[in-house]
C-alpha cells in the first residue's frame, strides 16, 4: 500500500518537474524568438523574405544587407549607413561612462566615510532626481546647450549624459562603500593618510567589483539612449540609436527588412557583447540600484 502511495507521489513529482521544465523552455523560446528572427531575416534576400515567413530558415545566406546597413543605408538625409553613427556613439559614450563613474566614486566615498552635516540630505536630493521623467528637463537643456555653444556636438552629449547619470553612479558607489567598515578610514587617518591618499591606497583597491558594475550599467544605459540623442543632436552627429530609428522608419522606396534587421543587430551588438561577457555584473547593477530605489 505504502509503496504504491510513494510511487504515486513520486510520479506526480516527476510530472510536476516535467511541467516546470516545459514551461521554462517555452519561455526561453519566446525570449529568443525575436533574436532568431532578427538574425535570420538579416541574412535573407528580399525575395526570400517576401516568399517565406518569420521562422523559415534562409534559402541562402547573404550578408549584403549587413554591408548596406553598415555603409550605404539611408539614415535621414545622409545615406552613409550606420558606420558614422556607430563611431559617434563610441566617442560620446566612452567619456560619459568614465566621467560619470569617476565622479560617482568620489561622491560615494564622501557620502559614506566623510559625512558632514547635510550630506545625507544631499544624497536624498540626488536620489529624488532619479525619478524625474526627462521630458521635464529637455526644453531648458536644449536652450542651455545652445547658449554654451555645445548644441548638437559630442561634448554636448557627454555633458548631458554625465549630468543625468551622476545620480545612479553615486548610488552604486555609496551602496557599495556603506559595507566597507569605517574603521578602515579611521585607522588610515590615524596613520597619517589624508582624504585622497585614503581613497587611492585603500578604498579604490577594494572597488573593482562595483566599478565594473557601474561601467557596464552606464555603458548600457548611455549607448542605448534615444531621447537625449534625438533631442540634442541631428544629422551626422546622431548616435546609432537615432540613426537606426531613422533607417527603419524611412517611408521612401522599398522597405528593406533585411537591412533594418541587420542595422538593429549592429546597434545592439556592443551592449549584447558586454552582457554576454559580463552578465552577472549587469544583474548586480540592476538589483543594486533597484533594491535601494
Amino acid at each position: 500500500m505504502a509503496d504504491r502511495e510513494q510511487a504515486r507521489v513520486a510520479g506526480s513529482h516527476v510530472v510536476g518537474r516535467l511541467v516546470i521544465y516545459a514551461l521554462l523552455v517555452l519561455l526561453a523560446l519566446y525570449y529568443l524568438m525575436p533574436l532568431f528572427v532578427m538574425l535570420s531575416t538579416s541574412v535573407k534576400t528580399l525575395d526570400d523574405i517576401r516568399g517565406g515567413n518569420l521562422i523559415a530558415l534562409p534559402a541562402q545566406v547573404t550578408f549584403e544587407a549587413w554591408a548596406k546597413a553598415w555603409s550605404s543605408a539611408c539614415t535621414g538625409v545622409a545615406c552613409g549607413g550606420l558606420r558614422g553613427n556607430f563611431w559617434n556613439s563610441v566617442t560620446f559614450v566612452v567619456p560619459a561612462v568614465l566621467i560619470s563613474t569617476f565622479i560617482g566614486a568620489f561622491n560615494g566615498y564622501v557620502l559614506t566615510m566623510w559625512r558632514f552635516r547635510g550630506s545625507d540630505a544631499i544624497f536624498t536630493l540626488l536620489m529624488i532626481g532619479c525619478f524625474i521623467p526627462f521630458q521635464v528637463v529637455l526644453l531648458p537643456m536644449a536652450q542651455t546647450l545652445g547658449v554654451l555653444g555645445i548644441a548638437n556636438s559630442t561634448p554636448g552629449l557627454i555633458f548631458v549624459h554625465v549630468v543625468y547619470g551622476l545620480a545612479f553612479t553615486t548610488l552604486f558607489f555609496r551602496n557599495f562603500y556603506v559595507s566597507v567598515p569605517d574603521e578602515l578610514a579611521k585607522a588610515a587617518r590615524i596613520d597619517g593618510a589624508g582624504f585622497f591618499r585614503i581613497f587611492w591606497r585603500i578604498i579604490l583597491p577594494l572597488s573593482p567589483p562595483i566599478i565594473v558594475v557601474c561601467i557596464i550599467w552606464q555603458f548600457t544605459q548611455i549607448w542605448n539612449d534615444f531621447l537625449f540623442g534625438v533631442v540634442f543632436s541631428s544629422g551626422e552627429r546622431q548616435p546609432i540609436t537615432v540613426a537606426l530609428n531613422n533607417l527603419a522608419n524611412t517611408s521612401t522606396g522599398v522597405k528593406e527588412y533585411n537591412v533594418d534587421m541587420a542595422a538593429a543587430i549592429i546597434a545592439a551588438l556592443p551592449t549584447l557583447f558586454v552582457y554576454v561577457v559580463a552578465g552577472k555584473y549587469f544583474v548586480r547593477g540592476l538589483t543594486a540600484g533597484a533594491v535601494k530605489g
Binding site: P181, E183, K186, A188, I190, D191, A193, I202, L206
Partner: protein
C-alpha cells in the same frame, strides 16, 4: 611616553548630551581602562582623545600639548580597533609600515622597524600574507604591530578583544599586559568586559550615561565602589545587595538580617561612625559572594566573622568553587563556598559572614555611605 589629561570634556550630539563634563588624568606609563555598558560614552571619549571626533567643549592634553585642534595624525597616537581595521589589499608588512610611509620615513628605516615589531610579536612568518589569510588572533597581533611601529606617545585600544573567542581572549589579554610592561606605554583601553578592566588596568574609569562614576585603581573600585552602579558592574558574580535596617546593637551599630529560620543582627564595628546617623533607617548592604562563605575558608577573615546556619535554596557548581544561593531579607544572595563543604539544596549549612569588607549604600542617592 606621555601623560594624558582630559579636562571638562563635554560632547553633545543633537540634543543628547553624550559626555557630561569628563575630567581625568593619568601619568606616563599608566594603563587607563574606560569601562561601562554600551551607550555609556566610552567609545565617544576615545574618539575624542584620538581626534576622530571633536569635543563640544573641554580640552585634551597629551604630554604638554593641548591637542584639541590637531588632526589624529598630528597627535602622535596609535589606535587598535575592535575589528582590527587592517588594510585588506596590503600585506602584513605593508599594513605595519603604512603609517611610517605616510610620514615619509626612508625605506630602510621602515624595514628595520617592521622587523623589530615582528620579532616582538612573533609574527615574522606572517609578514607577506594578506589579512584575509590570517586568523583572528593573528590579525589582532598585526593591528597591535601597526600601533607599536608608530612608537606613539599614547596607545588607544577600542574593545580589541571583543571579536575573539573566550580562550583567545585570555591569551591576548596576557600579551597586551606583557606589552604594556615591556614598552612602558601609556594606554587608554575601552572595554565593556569588567574582567579585562580589572586584570589589565592600573587605573579604571567606570562610566555610565556619559559620566565617570568612579575613577581609581582596580582594587579600590572593587573594594570601595562609589555607588550601586559601579558595585553591580564590577565583579562576577555580582555583589549581593540586601535592603536592611540599621539598629543599635550592643553599644554599637548592626544590621538586621532575616533568613528563613531566624532574624538576627550582625554588628558592623568598622563602619560605626558613618552608620550611626542611619539607626532606625533602611539602607542597602552590599556584600560580595566571597564574603559569605564556609567556616573553613573564613579562618583568615579575622574578627569580623559571624557564622549562621542558613537554608540553601539553590546550588551552582562552577568548578573551583560552588555558588550557594540563600534567601536573606526576602532576596536571593549568592555565596561562594568550597565545593566539598557545600550543602545541598533544601538543606542547611553554616555560612560565615565577613562584614569588614561590606559596603553600605544610601537607597535614595545610590551612593556609598561606608
Amino acid at each position: 611616553m606621555s601623560s594624558l589629561a582630559v579636562k571638562n570634556v563635554r560632547k553633545v550630539f543633537g540634543n543628547v548630551e553624550v559626555l557630561k563634563d569628563i575630567d581625568l588624568a593619568i601619568g606616563s606609563g599608566e594603563f587607563l581602562i574606560l569601562v561601562g555598558p554600551s551607550g555609556c560614552g566610552k567609545s565617544t571619549l576615545l574618539s575624542i582623545i584620538a581626534g576622530l571626533d571633536t569635543a563640544t567643549s573641554g580640552d585634551i592634553v597629551i604630554g604638554d600639548r593641548t591637542v584639541n585642534n590637531l588632526s589624529p595624525k598630528d597627535r602622535d597616537i596609535a589606535m587598535v580597533f575592535q575589528s582590527y581595521a587592517l588594510y585588506p589589499n596590503m600585506s602584513v608588512r605593508q599594513n605595519i609600515s603604512f603609517g611610517l610611509e605616510m610620514r615619509r620615513m626612508p625605506q630602510h628605516q621602515q624595514d628595520e622597524i617592521v622587523d623589530r615589531v615582528a620579532k616582538i610579536l612573533q609574527m615574522g612568518h606572517l609578514l607577506d600574507r594578506k589579512p584575509s589569510q590570517l586568523s583572528g588572533g593573528q590579525r589582532q597581533r598585526v593591528a597591535m604591530g601597526r600601533a607599536i611601529a608608530r612608537d606613539p606617545q599614547l596607545f588607544l585600544f577600542d574593545e580589541p578583544l571583543s571579536n575573539l573567542d573566550a580562550k583567545l581572549r585570555v591569551e591576548m589579554r596576557m600579551e597586551i599586559k606583557l606589552l604594556h610592561e615591556r614598552l612602558k606605554a601609556t594606554i587608554v583601553y575601552v572595554t565593556h568586559d569588567q574582567i579585562e578592566a580589572m586584570t589589565l588596568g592600573s587605573k579604571i574609569a567606570v562610566m555610565h550615561g556619559g559620566e565617570i562614576r568612579q575613577f581609581g585603581s582596580p582594587q579600590e573600585i572593587y573594594d570601595q565602589p562609589a555607588d550601586l552602579f559601579v558595585a553591580s558592574f564590577i565583579g562576577s558574580p555580582s555583589m549581593n545587595f540586601i535592603r536592611t535596617e540599621v539598629v543599635e546593637h550592643l553599644g554599637s551599630v548592626g544590621v538586621r538580617l532575616q533568613t528563613a529560620e531566624e532574624t538576627f543582627v550582625l554588628p558592623v564595628h568598622d563602619a560605626e561612625k558613618a552608620l550611626r546617623p542611619w539607626i532606625g533607617r533602611d539602607l542597602i548592604l552590599g556584600i560580595r559572594p566571597e564574603l559569605i562563605t564556609d567556616s573553613a575558608s573564613s579562618q583568615h577573615f579575622g574578627r569580623n566573622v559571624h557564622t549562621r546556619n542558613c537554608k540553601v535554596e539553590l546550588v551552582e557548581p562552577t568548578g573551583p568553587d560552588t555558588l550557594v544561593f540563600i534567601r536573606i531579607n526576602g532576596e536571593i544572595a549568592c555565596c561562594r563556598v568550597r565545593p566539598e563543604l557545600a550543602g545541598a539544596a533544601n538543606e542547611s549549612m553554616d555560612l560565615a559572614f565577613n562584614l569588614s569588607k561590606a559596603v553600605f549604600f544610601d537607597p535614595q542617592t545610590e551612593k556609598r555611605i561606608a
